[in-house]
């Protein structure tokens, strides 16, 4: 195999992988406009399943709860994740650092089913001991903050790694107190990462099924929980329409979160952000 052949093979395999990633997304968008109840048998173009969504009270209610949960947990995760990312990249060694980075970062990979059952058992034990928290939006938000913080911390940490520490040191040398350095120098410099981290946490929260199923109560059903209960029974044309809307919504969020980073090199500027 010569160089030209191997380049061609590489291109072909990459295109195959990209096609693989996008085929299901494209198929769900196309079938959401299918008039037929049979979902995969195409009859003709229709937007009736979108109209049906507007009259589905269960879905509308779940959407509202999901958005509320996502907003609260993304806010909490951004605050905690900024602290954690800052500590991990700027504090050097301190007693308990290994455990700190271990428990902050483990939720990135920990199977959701484990985090779901363990947090539920914590909430149940707390409720038995001190009468709080009730299983509703509060428990979902606390659980979502716990798994989304690590993602924010990673984004913040990689941004901090690219910022020259001497800027912060200069501020300290000029007499700024540590808190002033953080709020007046560091925070403005990492602001884009905070926005990306917030949006990432928001979309992860909006999407979570497994952890939410464990920690939510009967009155606080989120959108993925409703979707899952419907799709377990098979294909559902309404879910195709809903899925298309979610893909569109989250796609816009992801574009907003990464646009600056992704096209930094196209405006002749030095690339400063790590892609989320």
């Amino acid at each position: 195999m010569n160089a030209a052949q191997s380049r061609f093979l590489l291109l072909a395999m990459s295109l195959l992988a990209i096609f693989f990633l996008y085929a299901p997304i494209v198929s769900i968008v196309i079938y959401s406009f299918n008039e037929s109840q049979l979902v995969t048998v195409w009859s003709r173009f229709s937007t009736k399943w979108y109209a049906a969504l507007l009259h589905d009270d269960q879905i509308l209610r779940a959407t509202r709860i999901s958005l509320e949960v996502a907003l609260l947990s993304a806010t909490g995760a951004t605050v905690l994740g900024t602290f954690a990312g800052y500590v991990l990249s700027r504090f050097g060694r301190f007693p308990g650092r290994t455990l700190f980075s271990g428990i902050v970062m483990a939720p990135l990979v920990m199977p959701e089913i484990i985090m779901g059952i363990s947090m539920l058992l914590l909430f149940v034990a707390l409720e038995a001991a001190i009468g709080w928290p009730p299983r509703d939006i509060q428990t979902i938000v606390m659980a979502h903050i716990t798994f989304a913080t690590a993602f924010v911390a990673v984004v913040v940490q990689s941004r901090l790694a690219e910022i020259d520490v001497s800027i912060e040191e200069a501020a300290a040398d000029l007499g700024a107190r540590p808190l002033q350095v953080f709020f007046l120098v560091t925070l403005p410099l990492i602001a884009p990462a905070l926005v990306s981290g917030f949006l990432l946490a928001f979309s992860l929260s909006l999407d979570d099924l497994v952890i939410t199923s464990f920690v939510s109560g009967p009155s606080s059903t989120t959108l993925p929980v409703v979707i899952f209960s419907k799709v377990r029974l098979g294909l559902n044309p309404e879910i195709n329409a809903l899925g298309t809307l979610i893909i569109l919504f989250v796609g816009v969020i992801a574009t907003l979160a990464t646009f600056r980073t992704v096209f930094a090199d196209w405006r002749g500027r030095r690339k400063v952000d790590a892609p989320a």
Partner: protein, 304 residues
């Protein structure tokens, strides 16, 4: 990067304490403590009560404090073949997922890393975009593609390649496909991060010295990107062992996984102690890979 930046007395203030204590406290309470509770409840036994398990500690008639530990749950999951099969098939699913995400993800990561700076970030975003998009919806979409009158079968029937629909949904094949699909971005990202840092002049040098592309790849590129392969494999393997959604939506009636076993014990049988025992056994299984990942990340941090 790991050297203390502000080592002077200035930063040993209350602010520094809070910055460590707030996230530390949160994760001790919401991440670490729950594992102890899971371990405790795994030693209990189910009861018709709220919450549905017996307390480990009780008062005997004579006023003595009695601690009752049940090891039956552990005996159960180590003797009932259902659990052993579930563990074995979860490990197999995760291993197959690692192999195929690597085979599919490596060329893609290599391709992106070898583009000019201008194209790398947009291409990487193309790979990461599905990760942002609803996992549940994307897995669900495969049902429409794989079912007997779905996209693939309709196309193949129409083309006359097959004369009856292929059986590709609700079986092990569909589970593998869905898992590889779901975890591909987790493999591509760390691979890309290492390939991007690769010194391409080394590859050119090998080529100039007469090595064919395959040999350059085998003897130069592959060893240099090994840390990325290790990181990507761990990032895929660990969550894949506990995967619940993919086997449930795409698997068949005979698909047994540890995720589904835990879920069913919890939600269908309401046996919280057995569900906890399954969780403890899964965590024990993952301690090795988790430590490996932590060590690896610590080592990466120490690099200049």
């Amino acid at each position: 990067m790991s050297a203390p930046i502000f080592s002077n007395a200035q930063t040993r203030g209350f602010g520094r304490f809070l910055a460590v204590a707030v996230p530390y406290g949160w994760f001790l309470v919401f991440f670490l403590a729950p594992f102890l509770i899971v371990a405790k409840i795994s030693l209990s036994t189910a009861a018709t009560a709220i919450p549905p398990y017996e307390s480990l500690v009780s008062w005997a008639d004579d006023g003595a404090l009695v601690l009752t530990l049940h090891f039956n749950n552990y005996k159960l999951i180590f003797s009932d073949p259902v659990y052993l099969i579930a563990y074995a098939s979860s490990l197999r699913n995760a291993a197959v997922t690692v192999i195929f995400t690597l085979l599919l993800g490596y060329p893609l990561a290599y391709f992106i890393a070898s583009r000019s700076a201008k194209w790398r970030a947009p291409l990487l975003m193309l790979v990461m975009m599905p990760f942002w998009t609803s996992f549940l919806i994307r897995v669900y979409a495969w049902i429409g593609i794989l079912k007997p009158n779905g996209v693939i079968n309709s196309a193949l029937l129409w083309l006359g390649v097959i004369d009856k629909p292929l059986d590709i949904l609700n079986n092990q094949f569909a589970v593998y496909l869905g898992m590889v699909y779901a975890y591909l971005p987790f493999m591509v990202l760390p691979l890309y991060a290492h390939l991007e840092k690769l010194d391409w002049s080394l590859l050119e040098a090998a080529g100039d010295l007469g090595a064919r592309p395959a040999r350059v790849f085998r003897e130069v590129t592959l060893p240099l990107s090994m840390p990325g392969i290790v990181a990507g494999s761990l990032l895929v393997f660990i969550p894949a062992v506990g995967e619940y959604i993919v086997p449930t939506l795409l698997g068949g009636p005979d698909t047994l996984t540890i995720g589904a076993a835990l879920w069913n014990e919890f939600f269908s049988n309401h046996d919280w102690p057995v569900a906890s025992t399954v969780a403890v056994a899964l965590v024990v299984l993952l301690v090795g890979p988790l430590m490996a990942l932590q060590n690896y990340q610590a080592k990466e941090e120490q690099k200049p």
